[in-house]
C-alpha cells in the first residue's frame, strides 16, 4: 500500500482526454523518480474510484503505458513499472519521432516571440527536475 501512493490529479474539464492526463502524470512520475522500476501501480479500480472516473478510462491509460514498455501487467501482482530513466536508452525510432514533436512544440513558442535561447532555458529548467537531487549538480551523468 505504501509503495503505490503516487498522487496525481486529473482535470475533468480539460480538453485533453482523461486517459491521457493520467498517462502523462504517470510518465512524469516515472521521469522524476517518484515511481521507480519494480514499484506497483494502484489497481484500475482503485484509481477509478479515487478520481470518480470510469474503469475503462484508467485501463486505457495503463494500456498506453504498457505499449510504451513502461509498465507490465500480470493478473497476479497487477501493474508494475518495468522501465525507468535508469533502464538504458530507448530505440532510435522513438528518439527521432520525439525530436519531431519537440521541434513542433518549440516552434510554437518561437513563432509567438519567445527567443529560441529562452525556450531552451525553460527546457533545461524542466529537465533539471527529472533526474532528482543529482540533476542540479555540474554534470548530470547517470547516477546509477
Amino acid at each position: 500500500m505504501s509503495d503505490e501512493a503516487v498522487l496525481v490529479d486529473v482535470d475533468p474539464l480539460s480538453p485533453v482526454p482523461i486517459y491521457q492526463q493520467l498517462r502523462d502524470r504517470l510518465i512524469e512520475a516515472i521521469a522524476d523518480g517518484r515511481l521507480v522500476r519494480g514499484q506497483s501501480l494502484s489497481s484500475v479500480r482503485t484509481v477509478a474510484r479515487a478520481f470518480g472516473i470510469n474503469v475503462a478510462t484508467v485501463a486505457k491509460a495503463y494500456d498506453g503505458l504498457r505499449q510504451d514498455g513502461l509498465i507490465a501487467t500480470t493478473s497476479k501482482s497487477g501493474s508494475v513499472v518495468v522501465r525507468d530513466p535508469s533502464s538504458g536508452p530507448p530505440d532510435a525510432a522513438f528518439v527521432a519521432d520525439w525530436t519531431a514533436r519537440v521541434r513542433t512544440l518549440l516552434a510554437e513558442a518561437v513563432a509567438r516571440g519567445v527567443p529560441p535561447a529562452e525556450t531552451v532555458e525553460i527546457c533545461g529548467r524542466q529537465a533539471a527536475s527529472f533526474t532528482g537531487p543529482a540533476a542540479s549538480g555540474p554534470s548530470p551523468e547517470e547516477a546509477r
Copy 2:
C-alpha cells in the same frame, strides 16, 4: 504570388488531425523564417487542391492561426502573416501553459531512458534552426 511558395506536407493517415498538421507546419515555417511578417499564405482553395483535402479543413487550420494572432485574413488579399519571432514576446499566460506542455513532453523521453541532459541538447539543436533575436549568429552548426 512568388512570395507564397512555402511547401509543407501532411499525412492523411496520421492520428493527428489534418488541420492541425497544417497548422503545425505553418507555425514551424514562421518559427524558422521561411514565412515572415507581411508574407501571404496560399489561398485555402489552392492548398486544398494541392493536398486533395477539403477547403473547410484548410480554413480550420487558418482559423487556428488567426486566433493565435499569427495571421490575419481579409477577403481581398487572403491570409498574411502578422506576427513572427521578431514581433516581441508573448503574454505570460501562454508561456506558463507552454512550459507545462514541454514538461510533459520532456518527461516522456526521460521516462524512456533518454538522459535529461540529452533532451535539452536536442532542444538546443532544434531551437538553433529557428530565427530569433539571438539566432542570427554565425551559422548554427550542430553543437555536438
Copy 3:
C-alpha cells in the same frame, strides 16, 4: 438533465451567421444569470435538432465560447459553463477592444439623433438586467 433548459432562438434569415446568433444568445444567458458556472449546455445534437440546423453550426458556436474561456467541453459530459460574471475581471486587452466596439455602436445612435445621455440611459437599463457584483441589489426596476 433538468439544468440545461435554457431557451434561446435563432433567425435563419438574419444576415448575422447562425453560429454567432447562438453564441450571442448564450453569452447573454451567462450575463444575466440564466446560465451559471457549472451548468451544462444542451448537446450539439440536441440543439441542432431543436433548431433544424446543422450539428457543425452548433459546434462552431460552442467553439467560440470555448475559445473565449466561457465554457469547457469534454466528450463525456458535454459542455459546461466555466466562467460567469462572478469569475473575476477579464484581461485589459479585452476591455480595450470592447471599449472601441462600444464606441462605434454608441456613435451610430448619436449620429442618428439619439441624445448621448439617452444612449447611456439605455445602456444602464440593459446592464441592470445582468447579474454582477452590484446587480444583486433591490430589484432593478426601470430607473426612468
Copy 4:
C-alpha cells in the same frame, strides 16, 4: 476643399470589412461633430486613391450611409451630410434594434467578468466625447 478634410484611417488587415470600417469612422465623425449637416464628403475617387482601396468599396460605404439617411448624394455636389445629432430623434424601430445590439455587446463584457456598473461607466465616458464640450455639463439637453 477645406471643409471635407475629415481624417480617418482604415486597417486592411482587420477582419472587419473595409467598407464597414469606413462607414463606422464616418458615423463617428458625424457623432462627435467633426462632420455636420451640410458638409460635403470627399468624392469616392478621392477617398479610394487616398487609401489605396477600390472605388466600389468606398461607394459601398457611402451607400450604407445613404440608406441610413445620414448622407445624400447628387451628381452635382457629390455626397453631403444631411443628418446629424441635432436633426432630431430617429424612429422607434431603429432604437429598438439598437437596444438589442447594445444588449448583446454589454452581455459580452458582463459574461467575462466586467461589472455591469463598469460597462455603463465606460459607455458614459465614450458618449461624453460625442456631444462635444456641452456633454460634460450637468444635464445634456439638446443644444439646439
